[in-house]
Symmetry: C2
Subunit: 439 residues, 2 copies
């Protein structure tokens, strides 16, 4: 093959891939996340990467980001695959899955889903065209107990803590508080007011105030009350009194405050600052109707949310007449992982899962070395047998370059003992493959 | 939302998805496969689902099965995404990955890759449009030691045994034997002869003989020698003598026989019949140059291979000038799994990973029940706290329907002991959440 025919093996922008030592860390992360989801009894589901376009666009809003499929060799008038698209999140496929398998599921149905999703967006920092999300949701006909509104942030808290992320906070709010407060203020279109309040991050309090006044025609007193509410935040349920003192009243507001107090009280054993109620968090999406969540890195406030979710009244309404409320939260694995990698904060180790490299002393002693490797494997160790009878120094160098912690020397002559070398300490000692344990 | 607007949540043909209790088994399978790959020191990599079309079609042959991507809202003259396609196997992406990261990898590079792949084919039994493959390959500049030709079928043997598949056999051959034998017979185009021999499955020995005679103009003696070779099979290296007795000689044949003998001798400790050399196995793909593998279910010979692979001289030749030979094998996870499901041979159990359901005695005792659940979780158990203070019978029924083995009763009154019920045996005993262990 000549040079001209070589295809450049370049990565495609927005489709990340990792070298083995980075992938190994990602794998540990995914294992830790999965383990924690299962610790709370959530079951795994996976859905196809592909959904019918009418499923993906049932809610209409994000259709512009969908990748559709087409067979390379399809006739130009054959669009049978063109009604298929890659899923852009795990919520829509989950809703479709629940509707499709209603009679096979036990409710409340608690599932986790760790899968790749695709969005045909322009790649930029924190935005990928293919990325992995880790979602948990609880869904139940008619009513989802409030216990889960507290359980989900606890799970996320435990995961982010275990992953040793740089400083972050998980913010909570309840849309009933915002809507109820706005209703209590006599605002005619509280939903539009929430949409405006959600811009706080981008346009600041002044900008929000101006929009409330010009778009919704609110009085100065109303605007100022809205901004007073947005400034309220705190780590425990005393925040309910603070809001009460703003003097606004409505049934919906009371309901929201009760719910928020329940969630905060349930989480009161967590370290201070880990979970904060913050009235400036609104989550723009219309389908949230109660508790909402959003986690961010404290040092990179502009980086976008690293976890997000909330409670919705009727998730699968596009697919079934059954009322299926739920509450869920999604961890943006790739977004978090890639940021730590970029910032040089991801500690990588070995490039393989191997515990022990067994040295091959000579071709003549291959059977013995193979048996030694098998003995160690049977005892639950991850073991490589070096592939040829190279000089011992070269074999050790292979282990060292891959980050393998131990090198095992089967007898080089009959009657000699086994030895094992700890590449970390340099210590080499006699050992028995049937009883040896790594430190 | 009215009836007319409902979107049917139907599955798409060729894109399988499983209910939770089936997914749980699939997850156990994937865990077992991964654990075994790691037991031999293979590292995980993942590549993007998407590759540039020129990468996917670098070898030309399977381009008709590729799904290309297009943004739903792309302008009709914007084909920037149309040069992207979903990968149709894990070998091409692996080759591109190795070429892209040559300087970051330690060789011999031993990787496993468990990912979904896509093919725009008409779905039929055993053929899916989205399915999961589990690949292991060893790649090394210039030369890959023969040890790995034996290690890969051993790993696959251990995996298929652990998964308790119905009767299967892993067939071995070496393309050098076929090519060397044909050369020794004086056949001008041995590669074409291999392609014809590969049709044995479909057209039988008579059909193969006829093609060899009409297409390649072989004499009756040559045809008969080819068919004699194809009939040779056996479980140990005595097969080498059998082939020797056919009286054909060439250097390449001797080399192939030596390699096959090495592999069979290395695997001689496996149970009889697990691995068989079979001279009728040719593997049509041109890039195989030595050992080839193919595993099949014995009871469903027409079902297609459930594992396949082999040795190739230069995998990444389309992407780099470096010579990178390798050897690899792929386990067709979805193909195997779906067949067992269809045949009713897949034993399913619980629909969740939960070990213990903690009963919620009453809202007043919620804090106590929550603490009990936390204690059990801290000790490594997967625990659900029932979500509302329903009648105890209803709470137990929930556990029973999900296949949760234990129900935990925190004290219903102060001073009373904890109790735990084994739903399998029906036995209920006092227990301490800080010391209790499941059987």
């Amino acid at each position: 093959m000549t040079d001209q025919q070589l295809v450049k093996p370049l990565p495609i922008s927005g489709f990340p891939e990792w070298v083995p030592e980075v992938r190994l860390v990602e794998q540990h992360w995914i294992d830790a996340i999965r383990r924690k989801f299962e610790r709370y009894g959530f079951c795994s589901i996976e859905t196809p990467s592909v959904e019918a376009l009418e499923v993906l666009t049932a809610k209409g809003e994000t259709s512009k980001e969908v990748y559709t499929l087409r067979r390379l060799q399809a006739d130009s008038d054959d669009d049978s695959d063109a009604r298929l698209g890659l899923h852009f999140d795990l919520t829509v496929p989950f809703a479709r899955y629940v509707a499709a398998h209603l009679n096979d599921l036990v409710f409340p149905f608690k599932r986790y889903q760790i899968q790749r999703v695709w969005r045909g967006e322009r790649p930029q920092e924190g935005r990928f065209r293919e990325f992995t999300q880790c979602d948990i949701d609880v869904i139940n006909p008619e009513k989802v107990p409030l216990q889960f509104d507290a359980e989900l942030p606890r799970i996320v808290h435990e995961i982010l803590t275990e992953l040793k992320l740089p400083a972050w906070s998980l913010y909570l709010n309840n849309r009933k508080i915002l809507q109820g407060f706005y209703e209590g203020l006599g605002i005619d279109d509280p939903i539009e007011a929430i949409r405006i309040a959600d811009k706080m991050d981008k346009i600041g309090a002044d900008g929000v105030g101006q929009l409330l006044s010009t778009r919704l025609g609110l009085s100065d007193d109303q605007v100022s009350a809205c901004l007073d509410l947005a400034r309220v935040n705190g780590g425990d349920s005393s925040i309910v009194d603070t809001i009460g003192k703003l003097g606004v009243k409505s049934d919906l507001l009371s309901e929201g405050l009760d719910e928020l107090a329940f969630v905060l009280d349930s989480l009161s054993d967590l370290p201070e600052g880990a979970v904060r109620a913050d009235m400036s968090i609104a989550r723009g999406l219309d389908y949230y109707t109660g508790t909402v969540y959003e986690a961010k890195f404290l040092d990179w406030p502009a980086y976008g949310s690293i976890c997000a979710g909330g409670r919705y009244e009727n998730l699968a309404g596009s697919f079934t007449k059954r009322s299926l409320p739920g509450v869920g939260i999604s961890i943006g694995l790739t977004r978090i992982f890639a940021k730590l990698l970029t910032e040089g904060l991801l500690e990588t180790g070995p490039s393989c899962p191997t515990d022990v490299l067994v040295v091959l002393p000579s071709e003549e002693r291959r059977a013995d070395a193979t048996a030694t490797a098998a003995t160690l494997r049977d005892r639950g160790l991850n073991v490589e047998l070096y592939h040829q009878a190279d000089k011992v120094g070269k074999q050790i160098r292979y282990a060292s370059r891959k980050g393998i912690p131990y090198v095992w020397f089967p007898p080089f002559d009959d009657g000699k003992p086994h030895e094992v070398k700890d590449l970390g300490s340099g210590e080499q000692v006699e050992a028995d493959p049937t009883t040896w344990r790594r430190h």
